[in-house]
């Protein structure tokens, strides 16, 4: 690389460091209101795809395609695999007075969780369930696809992690409510460590069609309102805090959800209500999330 090239690269990184901050531990996605503690039958296999687009100030955009696989291992135990199949982060930087667009595209990390129902109260057309969850984040993705961009803009974290959560669902024929509270920790051992994160969510879904639940309805249309709160510690590089990372983010997410026994479709807006960053930098403008669900069945279960 020539002297001019080295200076250009350094200027880009400096500009990005000044202009761009992202608490990657903060979400691009609304936390799943599904499955929460919803019933999952033994042998039930649920495939979900959740593409999302997030816009932040300064021309930063993030597009994430998440895949989720839920398997009913038994009537109480569900295994959940969430993987960011494709992450595309786009940032703008200023180089020699010109705006340059930089991309970091690749696969993201995978979260493997187990959910076990410990409390269940069933009535005709209703259920109340509580389930703890425990999981591990596996660094399956690409954490250095573009060296001109900071580590927390890369598609993956490069960190192993653990997650513990408690989730509850209360479902009736005309509305559902879900809530979840959890903590995600990143294990030390790499030169760049993302901050640990506290997460809590609540969601409410109300049936807007049909008005009367009858024996032969093909499906139901829900109006949904979800809220997510994230509080993340700052990231560390070689043990030192990385300025402009970490903080709190509170989202409110209105949406529509069409659900049938075999499949589901949903669209949700991700709207920030409150956000603070440890240091100045880019802010979350808005996001949009789509959700596709397909239910399958296998006779194999525990």
């Amino acid at each position: 690389m020539t002297g001019r090239g080295i200076r250009r690269a350094w200027l880009i990184r400096l500009t990005i460091a000044l202009v761009f901050t992202l608490a990657t531990a903060g979400p691009a996605l609304a936390q799943l209101t599904f499955p929460g503690a919803s019933p999952i039958s033994a042998g039930n296999l649920i495939l979900m795809a959740q593409p999302a687009l997030v816009q932040q100030t300064g021309g930063f955009q993030s597009a994430i395609a998440q895949g989720v696989l839920v398997y009913g291992a038994s009537s109480r135990l569900a295994l959940i695999t969430e993987s960011n199949l494709l992450v595309w982060n786009m940032a703008e930087a200023i180089s020699n007075g010109k705006t340059v667009r930089l991309d970091a595209v690749g696969t993201g990390d995978t979260l493997q969780e187990a959910r076990y129902t410990v409390f269940q109260l069933d009535g005709i057309g209703s259920t109340l369930r509580i389930a703890p969850m425990i999981g591990v984040t596996v660094p399956t993705g690409m954490d250095n696809v573009n060296s001109q961009l900071p580590h927390d803009v890369q598609p993956a974290t490069g960190n192993w992690g653990g997650r513990a959560a408690l989730t509850g669902s209360w479902q009736t024929l005309h509305w559902n409510a879900e809530a979840e509270i959890g903590y995600e920790a990143r294990f030390p051992g790499t030169d760049y460590q993302f901050g640990n994160q506290f997460v809590t969510d609540a969601a409410f879904h109300y049936v807007i069609w049909p008005r009367q639940i009858t024996a032969d309805i093909p499906g139901e249309l829900f109006a949904s309102l979800e809220t997510n709160f994230f509080s993340a510690n700052a990231n560390r590089a070689n043990g030192e805090f990385v300025p402009g990372t970490g903080g709190q983010l509170w989202l409110v997410d209105p949406g529509l959800d069409w659900s049938t026994p075999g499949y589901g479709l949903a669209i949700t807006a991700l709207l920030p209500v409150m956000q603070t960053r440890y240091g100045s930098g880019r802010r979350y403008d808005y996001g949009v999330l789509l959700h596709f669900r397909l239910s399958l069945y296998t006779p194999h279960h525990w």
């Binding site: 009535g123 005709i124 024996a215």
Partner: protein, 86 residues
Amino acid sequence: MPPGAEVLVIVKGVATPFSVFGLLKRLGQIPGVAHVSFDLSQGLADVLLRPGAIVTDHQFREAIRDASYTPGTIRRKPTAPDEHAN
């Protein structure tokens, strides 16, 4: 051939269309079951058996629990007489 028996089973805990899928599959997997439908508003599974098939209450309850729900009352509708019988 006379039609199979019809069994009405109350199932508790099913509140959404999504939840119906696993229940239908588990009940449909019981040997001897020809068809299953579910009325979400009443929590009622309507099970039609194959002619001559015998399915016990225990089999129904086990399938419902495997589906992650709670079985309620089980009622067997009288079988229609064979109109061709002497």
